[in-house]
């Protein structure tokens, strides 16, 4: 759906309408810093929805203009942190968030950035302290619930995360359809992870009614279809997503679904294209290195390449996702004891994810850890997941 100037309701400013629709419906040349800040804000929201660096780079340009017009503009400085997070430059984002936090410790948005950056890097205890501070400082704030929900998920408390997303949804403005759709999709994602496909489907449908353009919701729909074994539909959705946002991650997801749907030749092509694309951005902060690790580890049987990449990433981050990939690269390289150490670290925060449990099961098996095998078989069973990865 494309929005046009004439679609803008009477009484809604260009800036707000643009923000709500991710669109630049008011092309008149912006004159003030705040106009550029508004543009950047809308682009950041788009970036969150599509999970791609491009909107954040555009936002950066708008922020640059804002700061040229008003050096030190506080909103622009805050948005810069958002773009850094969106471009996954977590170290720089954390540094700048800390700087702003020192100046304005009562701004909960900055505490939110700290939560995001610390979670991404793997400093969960610090992230929890930051999120708790938001909950304490502004009781009942949507931001507090959002950040705490993400942490609860990271700690394996899916039910608790759902509780907080529900609280956030209750507080989201009825007019803010983008936010409501995003929250519903987050909820759907967790419902799906809990095995509640029916509820997940209802939520995704609701999200897409609110925001028919949401790529986040379409990605969730693809995951739902795949969970139901409908790989053809899943891959078709993923193909559309890749056409809209042609990044390496989307291509990797598409390739996997093509493979599962029996379109092996197309899958192989897509995987090859993915490799080219991912290698081209390997050294950028926004990259598909995690996917590249699994690609080399599982598809190309090139564990040394996988381990090289995984090791490099793990030097920068120690979040569960990164450590899981690292553990898997070690496993595929035959370093079972090291793999065990890393998968233990990945699971330590409490995360409950079928993929991680599957890796843990394989690693425990390789280490002849009978108790571990039993544990992870049980964990997989509890979340209704099956380990499909070959030994």
């Amino acid at each position: 759906m494309r929005f046009h100037k004439q679609d803008r309701p009477v009484g809604l400013s260009c800036c707000v309408f643009g923000l709500l629709t991710f669109s630049a419906v008011c092309p008149a040349a912006p004159k003030t810093a705040q106009t550029y800040v508004g543009q950047a804000s809308a682009l950041c929201r788009k970036g969150r929805d599509v999970a791609d660096a491009a909107p954040y780079l555009e936002a950066d340009a708008a922020i640059d203009r804002a700061l040229e017009l008003a050096p030190g503009n506080y909103d622009a400085l805050k948005l810069r942190i958002v773009t850094l997070l969106g471009r996954r430059d977590f170290t720089e984002a954390l540094k700048r968030a800390r700087e702003l936090n020192r100046k304005t410790p009562d701004d909960i948005a900055i505490w939110g950035y700290l939560v995001d950056a610390n979670m991404a890097i793997g400093d969960y205890a610090e992230a929890e302290r930051d999120a708790q501070w938001i909950l304490d400082l502004r009781r009942g704030s949507t931001l507090g619930f959002l950040k705490a929900a993400a942490l609860r998920e990271a700690f394996g408390d899916i039910e608790g995360a759902l509780e907080f997303y529900a609280e956030a949804l209750l507080r989201a403005s009825a007019n803010d359809v983008q936010e409501r759709a995003w929250l519903m999709t987050q909820t759907a994602r967790l419902q799906l992870a809990s095995g509640n496909a029916k509820r997940a489907g209802e939520l995704i449908e609701g999200a897409l009614k609110l925001n028919p353009e949401s790529q986040f919701a379409f990605a969730a729909l693809a995951a739902l279809k795949a969970s139901q074994g409908n790989y053809a539909d899943a891959s078709a959705i993923r193909k559309q997503l890749f056409e809209k946002t042609p990044n390496a991650h989307n291509l990797y997801e598409l390739a996997g679904l093509l493979e599962k749907s029996g379109q092996h030749a197309e899958a192989e092509t897509a995987f090859r294209d993915f490799e080219t694309k991912a290698l081209a951005e390997e050294d950028k902060t926004f990259n598909a290195n995690r996917e590249l690790v699994f690609y080399y580890a599982d598809r190309r049987q090139s564990p040394s390449r996988a381990l090289t990449i995984a090791t490099r990433v793990a030097e920068l981050r120690h979040d569960s996702e990164t450590l899981d990939a690292y553990a898997w690269a070690l496993y595929r390289s035959g370093k079972f004891a090291d793999a065990q150490e890393q998968i233990d670290r990945a699971l330590a925060p409490g995360v409950r994810d079928g993929g991680y449990f599957c890796h843990a099961l394989r690693i425990a098996t390789a280490n002849r850890d009978a108790a571990g095998v039993k544990r992870f078989e049980k964990e997989l069973s509890l979340i209704g997941s099956v380990c499909e990865i070959s030994k």
Binding site: D106, E128, Q132, L137, R139, A148, R152, F155, G160
Partner: protein, 515 residues
Amino acid sequence: MHRIRPIVCAVLATLMGTPQTGFAASHREAPITALDQKADITDFFAFVSYDDPTKVTFILNVDPFLEPGNGPNYFPFDDNVQYSIKIDNNHDALADIVFEFQFTTEINAPGVFTGFVGAGSGINAPANSPAPVAPGTPIVPPAITALEGPGAAGLSLRQYYTVTMIKNGVSTALTNATGNPLFAVPSNVGPRTMPNYPALAAQGIYSLGSGISVFAGTVDDPFYIDLGATFDSLNFRTAAGGGVLTAAADADDNVNTASDYVSGYNVNSIAIQVPISMITSTGAPALSTSPAATIGAWGTTARPRTLVRRAPLPAVSSGSFSQIQRMGNPLINEVIVGTGSKDFWSMSEPVNDSQFASFDLDPLLARVLNAIYGIAIPTPPRTDLLPLVTYAPPIAAPGTPAGPVADLLRLNTGVAPTPRASRKRLGLLAGDAAGFPNGRRVSDDVTDIALRAVAGILAGPQYNYRLGDGVNTNDVPYQETFPYVAWAQSGRQRRHIDPGEPGCTQGAGPACPTN
């Protein structure tokens, strides 16, 4: 008794400075408390009891600017707020003794439209009362003359509370010596409903045994200030010297030359009087020359938390309450801490106050005073302001460990109270050893003291400019016995003494100037 050296060598300290250009004790000073009035600490007092030098009285006032006539429910304490008074007696800025207060609200007459009602001996339905209410049926209960039992029928909304003392980690419930509940004193609705309010309010003073007394309820706000002029970028009245008092005006503690903007307003108060022997580290009263004599105290409000982690998952953050506000010295958060950090300050522990040093060492308010009045101020870093936030002479005896920088209201319990006739509103600055910043009494003029401290009076007599707002005394007299504050002002009879109105000083004397 150890004689505290007057003014110049005094401490005062960090008291002021700030991005704001005005202040009002601590009424709505931070965003978090502007949004959460019930948890907003307006003032905190700690002083050796005037009428019993063996005891210290602590008063925690909350919930600012209560308009006495604002029914029908008036001003209950918040059942979901934990009110605490904390005491450090070993100079490490950590609480060794805590008194916690928690309230419970009961609605005794849920069908009645107002919280408090009563008249005379009660009013019954008259002869022409329409059916089904028969003539003679009680309609209005008797006037409220008691907090419980006969005379309390009109108290539909009533609160009782618990007091818990936590000393060295051991929690003890402090209960009414009679075994009855502790009731909070309601607001003074007016003479028909509460014909003898002082007698009613006095019933809210309870003995908890071991020499402890407690009171909670609505009272007159003891703070006084020309708030309107202060917040109008220090636009003090010309008639009051425009911010610089005349020598005569400064010397008269009993006359106002500007309006007390808090006049006619009430506040909710929690007061507790405790034997000194119960709060010193030695378990006994100490001479003022002993380090053990000096304690640090502060008040806090807290609310139950929503935790990131649900039980039974272990939480990194401990405790089921999170602090909303704290207060030791008056005006620190109000006039020292920047707006973007006020909530952070409010929620932080005093022991970590060194993180706010940047606000203390070059207070913006000093520069505002410098800019507005052209007065010379000390050159930063303003170390002259630091003594107030450590244990140091002249409050603490020489040899007392300074402890960490922390906003505590420090009180040398060995200094005897000053008799009423000799009491000075400028406290220690005027040589009154028992006045602020050696603790804080309800009558201490912390506005004028703060202005002068920020202007540099502690750095030397050359910085004494007689700064002041022209309000030198409260609108109503304080009490000389526990709980020392004046009883709540009447909802029907209250009076706010505004600019241009006659009776600037406690309703008497000339009109308050408008300019």
